[in-house]
């Protein structure tokens, strides 16, 4: 008997803790599902490595003694003036001006990630605001906003981006960076906006919106408190899938010479410069191309994994885990 009563205080709290059902939020549930996705976790690690690589850019420069814009014609180029390949001094080779490809790729990663995340965030913000307003308010406002989005999607973005770059002749690095982000966001928000608009129109028909109206909630309160939380999953997925698109967009612009201004390196610009001499110096194409591929692939796979984690129904349809 004494042994039982001694045991009791140990058993009871454990039991009680088990019986208490914890209300887990949709985000907690999504994280639990996400953790089960091994491929996504692997690419999350790769992405983290790329981010670390980008953050280390000044360290690479000081370790190798090669600032990103400095040319080393004596050590980086061989006797016939050709760039040297991966070696002890230049781990990933040098380009045709004798600059360190490793250091430049690392600075390029900063540009790509910055442009990708910033342009995606800006495009998502604008897209969500426009989509929610068009979808919820409707009427004439919807007519105007929906037409604006249609027109934006129909514009030839490369021609306009080139025209803008030529017209404004932005020479500073910061200026060209801002311009690139703005151009990408301008051509990307409509895709998000259209999807959000459609979602909002279907959410608007739900009875809980009517319930909020009958309680006397204002339009703005309904949009923020009742509509937006139901869009979190879609917004997260759309924004994460917009990052790789934006990175490729930035590379395209820089490849064409209308993106980020030299001498600031960018993967797109490195590809553009390297394509001139790739028969003799393969590393000039391979290094930025592989980095670009890995980064966009990681973001795409992570976006898909987030979608699966946030929408359990889609998971079940595809067979689940």
């Amino acid at each position: 008997m004494t042994s039982l009563s001694e045991l009791e205080p140990e058993i009871v709290p454990a039991d009680a803790a088990e019986q208490r059902v914890r209300g887990r939020s949709p985000l907690q549930l999504a994280w639990a599902r996400f953790r089960g996705d091994k491929v996504a976790l692997a690419f999350l690690v790769i992405l983290v490595l790329i981010v670390v690589f980008a953050l280390m850019a000044p360290l690479w420069a000081s370790w190798t003694g090669h600032p990103y814009a400095a040319t080393f014609p004596k050590t980086g180029l061989n006797a016939s003036g050709q760039p040297i390949g991966p070696s002890k001094d230049f781990w990933l080779g040098a380009d045709q001006l004798g600059r360190d490809v490793l250091v430049r790729a690392s600075y390029g990663a900063r540009i790509s990630l910055l442009v990708g995340v910033a342009a995606s965030a800006l495009a998502s913000l604008v897209g969500v605001v426009v989509g929610v307003l068009a979808g919820y308010v409707g009427g004439a406002l919807d007519g105007v906003l929906a037409r604006v989005m249609d027109i934006t999607l129909a514009l030839p973005y490369l021609l306009i981006a080139i025209t803008l770059a030529v017209t404004f002749q932005v020479q500073s690095v910061a200026g060209s960076l801002t311009m690139t982000i703005a151009v990408i966001a301008f051509f990307s928000f409509a895709a998000t906006g259209r999807i959000i608009r459609g979602q909002v129109m279907s959410i608007k028909q739900k009875e809980f919106i009517e319930a909020a109206r009958s309680l006397g909630a204002s339009r703005w309160r309904i949009m923020f408190v009742d509509v937006l939380p139901n869009l979190v999953a879609q917004i997260t997925v759309l924004a994460s899938l917009l990052i790789p698109t934006s990175i490729v967009f930035e590379s395209t612009l820089s490849f064409l010479g209308v993106g980020v201004r030299p001498p600031m390196p960018s993967w797109g610009a490195m590809l553009g410069e390297g394509s001139e001499v790739f028969q003799t110096a393969w590393w000039l194409l391979v290094v930025p191309a592989v980095l670009l591929l890995l980064t966009t692939l990681s973001f795409n796979l992570l976006g898909d994994a987030i979608r699966d984690a946030m929408d359990p129904r889609a998971d079940r349809q595809s067979g689940g885990k």
Binding site: G23, S25, E210, A211, L215, G216, A217, S218, D226, P229
Partner: protein
């Protein structure tokens, strides 16, 4: 037209019309037709009573409910709540009105925001009207949860963690939060299992006794309406065709449509079910886009005459009825009259394939 008979009237609808336009075109949307969802309804709700509204799907019950709750602007007509016309109210007055009138919805899954916690859903009315904050709101919400039979500890759960009946209780708690005078129940139990239906209905009745609530109770289940209602209005194609005290209506319906509707209700006693005569109506419900002339029911009514095609009957008390027993029919059904054997005196088109067409 409506007779109040000295009762304390809380809400009255006077000639309420609600038409939904059907538009075509991309840029310049042209109205090509309109759905006559509610087409001239007169109705009164007395303080403290339950007014049941019955009718088939598509007869305009839910639209009428939303008009009464000022969720739809009316096309024409007046709705007086405590003597004030809500159809012409200012935004501020409307917000005050929303404190007095609440709705309980049909779908316990659709009427609760799936991304918000129950405590925040039930606390919404306090947040919107700035009545209680923080700890006070939480304690009030937990009181409400207790009142409707929910565990107050489930405050932080999501709607998905509750059953249909529990969710409907959440909806009821939310509707009670502001201590409204009128609650409009739009088919509150039709999405629930029968055993749960009884629980929810009894909860609503108990709350009515406790809090002195007035209900407008919409349903298509006639036995549910009979159980909860003091008075019942029968709707057909956007109109009220008969409006009477519950026992009077169920005892002797005067409108042929009401009689047919009641004869279609299931009867629990098999012996009585054997004796009961089903009134089978000809054809389908006509489209509310182009409702019939005269009496809306004439294309299907077994008692239809020429007059029904041209003359629109008024909703008034008929001979031999109580003053608040209103029927919109030129030839009301008499006591003990057998409608099942009658044939219309006008041409009626049947849409049922096997039946021969009625001859004039």
């Amino acid at each position: 037209m409506t007779q109040t008979g000295g009762h304390d009237v809380l809400v009255s609808a006077e000639g309420v019309f609600k038409h939904f336009p059907i538009r075509q075109g991309i840029v310049f949307k042209k109205e090509i037709a309109r759905v006559h969802a509610v087409d001239g309804v007169d109705l009164t709700v007395r303080r403290g009573e339950t007014l049941g509204i019955v009718g088939e799907s598509g007869c305009g019950k839910s639209t009428l409910a939303r008009c009464l709750a000022a969720l739809h602007p009316v096309t024409r007509g007046r709705i007086l709540f405590e003597g004030t016309d809500i159809t012409t109210m200012s935004a501020a007055a409307l917000k005050a009105f929303r404190r007095d009138v609440q709705m309980i919805f049909q779908d316990p899954y659709g009427s609760l925001n799936p991304r918000r916690r129950v405590g925040s859903i039930i606390g919404d009315p306090y947040a919107i009207h700035g009545l209680a904050d923080g700890a006070e709101r939480k304690s009030r919400v937990q009181e409400l949860m207790e009142l409707v039979g929910l565990n107050p500890e489930h405050y932080n759960r999501f709607p998905a963690e509750f059953s249909g009946g529990q969710r409907q209780r959440i909806g009821i708690a939310r509707a009670l939060a502001l201590k409204p005078k009128l609650i409009i129940c739009d088919e509150p139990v039709s999405a629930l299992d029968v055993s749960i239906q009884a629980q929810v209905i009894n909860l609503l009745k108990d709350l009515q006794d406790e809090l002195g609530l007035t209900y407008v109770f919409i349903a298509h289940d006639l036995s549910v309406v009979r159980y909860v209602s003091d008075r019942v209005a029968v709707m057909y194609l956007g109109r009220v065709v008969e409006n009477a005290a519950g026992n009077e209506l169920y005892g002797g319906p005067r409108h042929p449509y009401a009689a047919a509707l009641l004869s279609a209700a299931s009867i629990a006693d098999p012996d009585e079910a054997e004796r009961a005569e089903r009134i089978v109506l000809a054809g389908d419900v006509p489209s509310p886009i182009d409702p019939p002339s005269g009496c809306r029911f004439h294309p299907r009514c077994p008692k239809a005459r020429d007059r029904c095609v041209t003359d629109d009957p008024e909703l008034v008390a008929r001979e031999g009825d109580a003053a608040d027993h209103l029927t919109a029919c030129h030839f009301p059904v008499g006591r003990g009259e057998n409608l099942a054997g009658e044939h219309a005196a006008i041409a009626q088109v049947s849409t049922e394939p096997d039946l021969p067409e009625a001859t004039p």
